[in-house]
């Protein structure tokens, strides 16, 4: 018990201290100690409880309940005032409604509902805690160096680093709470806190754009919160319980499916699925560490985490089918949309949404294999995506922009960064890296569940994924010569250590995936579904994957010394005319020296405009509307 409390409260304390300390050196030290401390605590907690799990029933939780209520009311007051100030009355209405609902429920209906187990640490929570703790603390560590460089480049932005770093730790604390709570009220509270942290971080630069985007994120997520609040009230009133585990154990009847559908809608907003995805794209204005932590690795995973938890209730039900379709539309549309993006962070954002869509698909299919894939996807996506975000953040400091087209000179500017970035990208789509293994199992489970349409959508989406990552790596490898925009920052150790560790984790997690499967996922599945679960990939294939990984590591290492010693005659590249000698220019007509300029394919004609986005959103909205109808119908019958 104590250890869990420490795990949740330690980042909170660090957050408060960071917020109060204004002196840069001391603050940096505090953040570093805080990050390393969180990392250590996470690993220690995981080691302690991972095998046996932990279920805690707190006898007297009066104090915690009151604390939560007070904070919630305070938060609501702030949000309502903010909505009125900025004339976004929808936020105020949402916030007022949900808070009033929760307060009414708390004071009039809740008597007699006992929460037996408030905290559950099982294999799934364990995996999530490890992701949040390990990746989160690495990102916090990175933020120290990044924010320093950020303010050197962006002198127009007011330096509020204490605030920024403080919110990061506050978020970690809330996230630990979220994945460990079994009490829906607590879960809801942490859910709202993460929404609020996200809002604060998106608005960090205080530019009009940042402000608008942060408000958009708030509207959508508070809207999701409304759905969550209604779901809690319905569960509490109909079934006299507030425990997630009890809810999951129920039969998927019509009355259960309504709150489950609402919870799924809340999860879809949090995970930025279509049609709620606009906020995540807007969130990319925030400084990179927050994009890495909240908007790809952890917070958006809260949504899919909830769906994975609810998986036993989804599966064959109408709600499950609808959520699967929404996820698949999101996966396909966002994979295609990512092709048309030049801004590296936009590509990462779209890819994040797409992959969350894939996880939603897997989770809502609800079979053992699918959940296996979903959990692996959560792990590998978090690992690879945070590496990608951190690398892009540092690259932006090096090149002065984050346009993918300009990254062809990265090999000359920083060889290390381009290697890290390449590892991250490869981690997203190539065999034998983790994402692909998960996709493989996803494919198998989709066919097994007889979902032909989903199988086809997965095939198309994967092909699009292949294209946009492929051209990005290609640009990196094309190794052009050119100039940076001028301010060429230093790639400090503060940034490099976390990036290096992340890259190492990406590679190691792929080598260790059979182990992860055996230690964490298979036991979880056996527990959740009963019976003995099996890893969907056979031992022979796992072996081949590991061998491939080893080859991918060893082959370049073996080739480098060979190529260094090669005595080959170096010749100018072929330009179908005279190469001016630098491999960049050719002698054009009338003897003029001209640069050969190349650009990647963005297919903007098809995917660039607003039309494609509009129709994808419409499809998703229609699906959700059908879902509402089906749920009401099921209940009415």
């Amino acid at each position: 018990m104590n250890l869990i409390a420490v795990l949740i409260l330690f980042p909170l304390v660090v957050s408060i201290v960071t917020f109060l300390v204004r002196k840069e050196n001391i603050r940096s030290a505090v953040v570093r100690i805080g990050a390393v401390g969180t990392l250590g605590l996470t690993v220690y907690t995981a080691l302690q409880y991972f095998n046996d799990g932990l279920r805690i029933s707190l006898g007297e939780t009066e104090m915690i309940e009151i604390f939560i209520l007070v904070v919630e009311v305070g938060l609501a007051a702030y949000i309502i005032r903010l909505g009125i100030q900025t004339k976004k009355y929808l936020i105020s209405v949402f916030s007022l409604f949900q808070t009033a609902l929760i307060l009414w429920f708390e004071f009039t209906q809740k008597h007699g509902i006992e929460v037996e187990t408030s905290i559950v640490f099982d294999k799934l929570s364990g995996v999530m805690v490890l992701i949040v703790g390990v990746i989160g603390s690495l990102i916090c560590l990175y933020a120290v160096g990044y924010m320093k460089g950020y303010h050197e480049h962006h002198t127009e932005v007011k330096d509020r680093q204490s605030f920024f770093l403080g919110v990061l730790f506050l978020f970690l604390s809330a996230m630990f709470g979220l994945v460990l709570s079994n009490n829906l009220m607590w879960l809801y509270f942490c859910w709202e806190i993460t929404t609020f942290c996200s809002f604060l971080l998106i608005g960090y630069t205080k530019t009009p754009e940042a402000r608008n985007n942060s408000l958009l994120a708030l509207i959508i997520n508070v809207g999701g919160g409304v759905a969550f609040a209604i779901a809690i009230v319905m569960i509490g009133m109909n079934f006299e319980t507030l425990e997630l585990s009890t809810l999951i154990a129920m039969k998927p009847e019509a009355l259960v499916l309504i709150p489950v559908f609402l919870l799924c809608v809340a999860a879809l907003t949090k995970s930025a699925q279509l049609p709620f995805s606009a906020w995540l794209l807007g969130a990319m204005v925030a400084p990179t560490p927050s994009s890495a932590l909240l908007h790809s690795a952890t917070m958006v995973k809260a949504g899919v985490y909830l769906i994975i938890r609810l998986a036993p209730l989804l599966g064959e039900t109408s709600v499950g089918r609808i959520i699967t379709l929404v996820g698949s539309i999101t996966f396909l549309a966002c994979s295609l949309l990512a092709i048309a993006q030049r801004d590296a962070k936009k590509v990462l954002a779209y890819s994040t949404i797409a992959n969350l869509g894939l996880i939603v698909m897997c989770a809502s299919i609800g079979t053992q294999e699918a959940i296996w894939a979903a959990i692996l996807l959560v792990i590998f996506h978090a690992v690879s995506k945070s590496l990608l975000f951190l690398s892009v953040g540092s690259i932006e400091h090096q090149l002065g922009n984050r346009n993918i087209e300009n990254m062809n000179i990265l090999m000359h500017v920083s060889r290390k960064l381009s290697i890290y970035l390449t590892i991250g990208i490869a981690g997203m789509f190539l065999a034998p890296f983790g994402m692909l293994i998960s996709k493989w199992v996803a494919m198998k489970s989709f066919i097994d569940s007889n979902n032909v349409i989903i199988v086809i959508i997965l095939a198309y989406g994967s092909a699009a994924t292949l294209f946009y990552w492929g051209k990005w790596i290609g640009t990196l490898l094309s190794n052009g010569v050119g100039k940076t925009d001028g301010h060429h920052g230093v790639f400090s150790l503060d940034e490099e250590i976390p990036i290096f560790l992340q890259a190492a984790i990406v590679v190691i997690s792929c080598l260790a995936f059979p182990l992860i499967s055996k230690v964490a996922i298979v036991p979880y599945l056996s527990e959740a579904f009963g019976g003995q679960a099996m890893a969907p990939i056979g031992l022979g294939n796992q072996l081949i994957m590991v061998i491939m990984m080893a080859v991918l590591i060893l082959m370049p290492l073996g080739y480098i010394p060979l190529s260094k010693n090669s005595k080959a005659r170096v010749t100018p590249i072929y330009m179908a005319g005279e190469n001016a000698g630098d491999n960049e220019h050719f002698i054009a007509a009338t003897g003029v020296k001209r640069k050969s300029e190349l650009s990647n394919w963005y297919l903007e004609v098809y995917l660039g405009g607003k039309r494609f986005t509009f129709w994808s959103n419409m499809t998703a909205i229609t699906l959700l509307a059908i879902g509402v109808l089906l749920v009401i119908w099921g209940w009415a019958l």
């Binding site: 010749t571 072929y574 005279e578 190469n579 003897g591």
Partner: protein, 142 residues
């Protein structure tokens, strides 16, 4: 055994010519002559070619181009000058910008006469070039 005699890949470069020889070079690929019987391929890329087949003479403008193409070819390689212009500048020899035959720029191994050179003559020239190619390959081994 050297296989380059069985697989001569050709790069055709047109210097200053009247295009008569170029048409005859392409005529070699037609069903009537079908040089692919001997494994000949018209590559259009110096990196892949063994034989540089030049029609027309060289002028001030294309000297660096011809030199660069030759540099981009891998050894063993031979140069075949097709037609009288490639041999000496031909009818264009007195033009203000002409340098003359290909030999002014590159070491030519085989000269094919004719204005325009007949396909039979071109094929014959290529076959002669194969013997040179073979020699050069043997020289490389040592």
């Amino acid at each position: 055994m050297n296989y380059n005699t069985k697989s001569p890949w050709i790069l055709h470069y047109d210097g200053s010519s009247c295009n008569g020889c170029d048409i005859e070079v392409l005529a070699c690929l037609t069903p009537l002559y079908d040089v692919e019987r001997f494994g000949v391929i018209n590559t259009g890329n110096p990196r892949h070619a063994d034989i540089l087949l030049i029609t027309g003479g060289v002028n001030d403008q294309n000297i660096p181009v011809v030199k660069q193409i030759y540099e981009q070819m891998a050894e063993p390689k031979v140069v075949v000058a097709v037609g009288i212009c490639a041999t000496s500048g031909g009818i264009f020899a007195d033009c203000y910008n002409m340098v003359g035959g290909v030999e002014n720029v590159l070491p030519v191994d085989v000269y094919v006469p004719g204005c325009a050179a007949r396909p039979q003559a071109i094929i014959d020239g290529v076959v002669k070039a194969l013997a040179v190619l073979d020699e050069k390959q043997n020289a490389m081994k040592k």
